[in-house]
């Protein structure tokens, strides 16, 4: 056996030992640094002339620059450095006074995020009221929706109410021909938080359909090439696989059609129609599945039972 092989074998030792070694020895290191600093400070006190202090400060700075940085875990916040950008409601309130309709539309939607701050919320409602009469339909609709949320009346048809009393919705509703912003927000226990967003290629949320008992939601998302469906149990934070691609792979295997998966995960499938909950646990929808770069399009009926994870895909003509 070569030393490389032995090194490779050492790679397979117990995970708990590796983890323990990974965390070991750090406290001692911290102690040593603090001792150094204490000694240095004591020396500085002895030679407390201004010139010496300046030299010492310079020395400490050089020490810090030469020290190898030790970062245990890089968080998104730590990489931001200071100052970290926080949500700034004042910026959006100011934007309401802009003469640019696009700015106003964005500001109205972003101001919904001030829900958790009572003062800003009240101010936002007051400032947004004039836009209810706007000639621009998109702005008027956005203002009506934002005021409905911020004033806690919750009458908008865009709001989906769940069995646990919480509510979910998207902002920037139907802002594009394709759909709404790719974030689902949730109000639970009188607090607003982002609930989920979808990774590429899902760029827009087009539909949120609650199950009859309001415990599950079917979410339809899309890109400009494909459509996607997933079922989400909000309370238990469980989500189904993506159903259109799963159906495409399953149906391809059933029909012995070559099914390639693109690296960008665009499947050029969709055409989601008649999406309905047949019971509290089962979702049905019609769709078009694409194969061989859309040379073959198959119309199918997809049925998915969430609790049992059972997916059925049948040719649409057969079902009819």
């Amino acid at each position: 056996m070569k030393s490389e092989d032995l090194y490779r074998e050492i790679g397979l030792i117990d995970e708990s030992l590796i983890e323990a070694a990974g965390n070991s020895g750090l406290k001692a290191r911290k102690k040593r640094i603090s001792k150094k600093v204490v000694i240095l400070v004591a020396c500085l006190a002895l030679y407390s002339s201004t010139a010496t202090a300046l030299l010492a400060t310079d020395y400490i700075q050089n020490q810090n620059q030469n020290q190898e940085p030790y970062i245990r875990y890089l968080t998104a916040e730590s990489m931001e450095l200071q100052p970290v950008t926080h949500y700034d409601a004042e910026k959006f309130l100011k934007a309401l006074k802009s003469d640019n309709n696009e700015y106003i539309y964005i500001a109205i939607n972003r101001l919904v995020e001030s829900f958790n701050d009572q003062n800003t919320r009240e101010k936002a409602i007051k400032e947004m009221k004039p836009f209810l009469e706007s000639n621009n339909e998109k702005i008027a609709d956005a203002a009506a929706f934002a005021i409905d949320i911020l004033s806690k009346t919750y009458e908008s048809p865009y709001i989906v109410k769940l069995a646990d009393g919480s509510m979910i919705f998207t902002l920037f509703n139907n802002y594009s021909d394709y759909g709404s912003q790719n974030v689902i927000w949730r109000i639970k226990d009188n607090a607003l938080k982002p609930l989920i967003s979808f990774s590429a290629p899902s760029m827009y949320i087009t539909k949120i359909i609650p199950s009859p008992d309001q415990k599950l939601i079917a979410i339809v998302t899309c890109s400009n090439k494909s459509e996607f469906v997933q079922i989400y149990n909000v309370e238990e934070r469980m989500i189904s696989p993506e159903l259109v691609e799963s159906a495409r792979v399953k149906y391809g295997a059933q029909q012995e059609i070559d099914t390639w998966i693109r690296t960008d995960h665009e499947n050029y499938s969709g055409g989601i129609n008649h999406i309905v909950w047949s019971d509290n646990d089962t979702l049905e929808f019609e769709g078009s599945l694409a194969y061989d770069d859309t040379a073959i399009i198959e119309s199918v009926m997809v049925t998915y039972q969430f609790s049992k994870k059972v997916l059925e895909v049948n040719e649409l003509n057969e079902v009819r």
Binding site: Y7, R8, G11, D14, I18, A21, L74, S199
Partner: protein, 185 residues
């Protein structure tokens, strides 16, 4: 993001998994690879190969400790690359580590026995539980994380010579343990 969430993204085949892995463990993977290889482009390549290997491995594998799983893959890929590199491109510090490990192997006159992958690892594992915690951690830092003697001495607040002598003793003990267990490497 929690490790469980990242693994879940891999299971879902979401490319976000790769972004989250890079965000959370990019520096960690690089540090492991950097201890084995010295060429910057090799390090970058190994880091990317690690993400691809994890993408291909999950599913069906479901790692219990994602960081260790990732580290193991990065380590193996870097070691393959190290073997492939010419003598000029090799990392001198890592050469020293391998030379140290040679001390645990039997003399060239002994007839070697073929072992299945992981077979020797389980004996090394048993051995590591027999040595004291400090010596064990020093050994793993040196031969799993491939840390330099200097960084180990800083980490454990020990002098370099003390680290070297502890590693020397542990290697000798390992060699004796392997012989006692009938392992001829």
């Amino acid at each position: 993001m929690e490790d469980q969430g990242i693994v879940h993204l891999y299971v879902q085949r979401s490319q976000q998994a790769l972004i989250e892995t890079k965000n959370k463990y990019g520096a960690y993977c690089k540090a492991i690879v950097r201890n084995i290889l010295s060429n910057y482009s090799d390090i970058e390549e190994c880091e990317n190969d690690t993400y691809l290997a994890v993408w291909n491995a999950i599913p069906p594998n479901m790692p219990r400790k994602f960081s260790i799983f990732l580290g193991r893959i990065a380590r193996n890929i870097a070691l393959d690359k190290y073997g492939y590199n010419t003598a000029k491109k090799r990392n001198c510090e890592f050469n020293v580590i391998l030379t140290e490990l040679e001390g645990c192997l039997a003399s060239p006159h002994t007839v070697e026995t073929e072992y299945e992958a992981g077979e020797v690892a389980s004996i090394i594992n048993q051995f590591l539980y027999t040595v004291d915690e400090q010596a064990r951690n020093l050994f793993i830092r040196r031969y799993w994380y491939s840390d330099s003697i200097e960084s180990i001495s800083i980490r454990f607040h020990m002098s370099s010579s003390k680290v070297k002598s502890s590693l020397f003793r542990t290697r000798n003990k390992l060699r004796a343990y392997l012989q006692k267990e009938g392992v001829n490497l």
